[in-house]
Amino acid sequence: MTKLKTQSLHKRESELAKANKQVEYLSNGIFADGELPTFAKKIKETSQFPLKPKKLEILQINVGYMCNQVCEHCHVDAGPDRKEIMTRETMTQCLEVIKNTGAHTLDLTGGAPEMNPDFRWFVEEASKAGIKDFIVRSNLTIIVANKKYHDLPEFFKKHNVHVVSSMPHWTKGKTDKQRGDGVFDASIEALKMLNDVGYGKPGSDLKLDLVYNPSGAFLPGDQEGLEKDFKKVLSEEFDIQFHNLFAITNLPISRFLDYLIASDNYEDYMYSLVEAFNPSAVSNVMCTNTLSVSWDGWLYDCDFNQMLELKVASKVKHISEYNEAILNDRNIIISQHCYGCTAGAGSSCQGAVA
C-alpha cells in the first residue's frame, strides 16, 4: 500500500502555489542583482534570442492534475486533491487537432492521466488518428492502485501505446523518499505486469521507457551511464526489462522550487544550472518542437510554462482556435527556469538533447 508523502502546495494554500509568485521568485534575488545572468541575457550572448520554434513534432496534452501520488518534486503540484481534469468536450477539440497535425508524436501526461474518467475513450479515439508515436506517461503505481486499473498494460498494448514511466532510482530508499512510501515496490510490480504483456522486451515494438530525475538538489549525471546502472540492477535483482532511460533535470518550479528554498539549496542549484549552461542544448530544447495543451485547452510552449501559467505568445492561445502555421511563428516565452533544460547534456521530456 502506498502512503502519500504530503499534500499539494494548492491544498496547503502555499504562496508558491501561485504561478506568478514562482515567476517573481525566479526573477528576483541573484538574477535581479546581476549575480547570475538571466536566461534571456545568456542566450543573447550566443545569438539564440529570441527563441523560435522549429517544425512541430510533439503535441503534449495534459489531461489533468489529479494523481494518486504526491511526489516531493512534482512540477505539476499534482495530487489526489487536484480537481483540474480535462473534459470530453476539450478532448474532442484536441482530437480535431490530432487528426490534422503535422506532429509525429502525441504525448499524454498529467497528473496520472489514467485517472481522467474519459482517458480510455480519448486513447481509443486518438489511436485512430494514425500518429506515429503515441506516448502515455504513466506513474506505474496507478496500475496496481485499484482493481479497475489492473488491465492497463493490456489496454496500452491493444492501442500500441508507448509507455514512459518515472523511476527516480533503482533503490527502494531513494525512490520512496521522493515519491512516497511503498512506491518502489508498487512500481516494480507494475513493471513486471508491463513486461508480462510484452512491454520493454529487447526488440519488442511495445516501447517501455523510464524517466530518471534526481531525488534531490543536484543535476542528473550522464544518461547513458545511468541507463546502464538501471538496466543492470533492475534485470539482476527484479528480472525487469525496459528500453531507454531518459535523464531529466528537475526544473526550479512548483514543489521542487519549494523544496530548494526550504532546504536552503536554491542559490547553489541555480549556480549549478547556470554553470552547466550548454548553448548547443538551446537549439534542441523541447519547446522548439513541442506544444503543450493544458486540461482546459490553453496552449503553452512546454509543460513547465503551463505550470507557470505562461501562455504562448501568439494570437492563437487555445486549442479551439488551433492553427499550426500561426503558432509556429511565435517567440517562445522564457524565464530562469529554462536553465533546467539547457544544463549539461540538456533535458526534455525525451531526456538529453545535446
Binding site: 530518471y212 543536484f218 549525471g221 551511464g225 545511468l226
Partner: protein, 109 residues
Amino acid sequence: MSYYDPKDLRKFGNITDWSEELGTKFFDYYGKVFEEGALSAREKSLIALAVAHTEMCPYCIDAYTKDGLQRGITKEEMMEAVHVGAAIKSGASLVHGVMMMNKVNKLDG
C-alpha cells in the same frame, strides 16, 4: 566565521586569472583524469571522494558528494569509500608502530 567559504568553490576557475597557462594546463589535466578510461568515471568519482576525506578538503568533499549523487552512487557506496580512505589513513599511522617496536627492541630488547 570559518576560513573556508563554500562559495569559494565557485571561484576555483578564477585560478587561471593570475597564471593562465598553468591554470589551463591544470584544468585540462584534471578534466582528462576524470574521463572514462581503464577505470570508469564512476569508480574515479568514488576514489576522489575517499581521497577528499583523507586530504580533509571541504571543497572536494562537497564536490564529490554531489558528483556521486549525480552518478546515482548510493550513500552506502559513498560511506564505504570514505572508510577505505579512513582505513588507509589509520593504517598508515598504525604501521609506524612497527618503528616504535623496532626501537624498543633495539634499546631495551
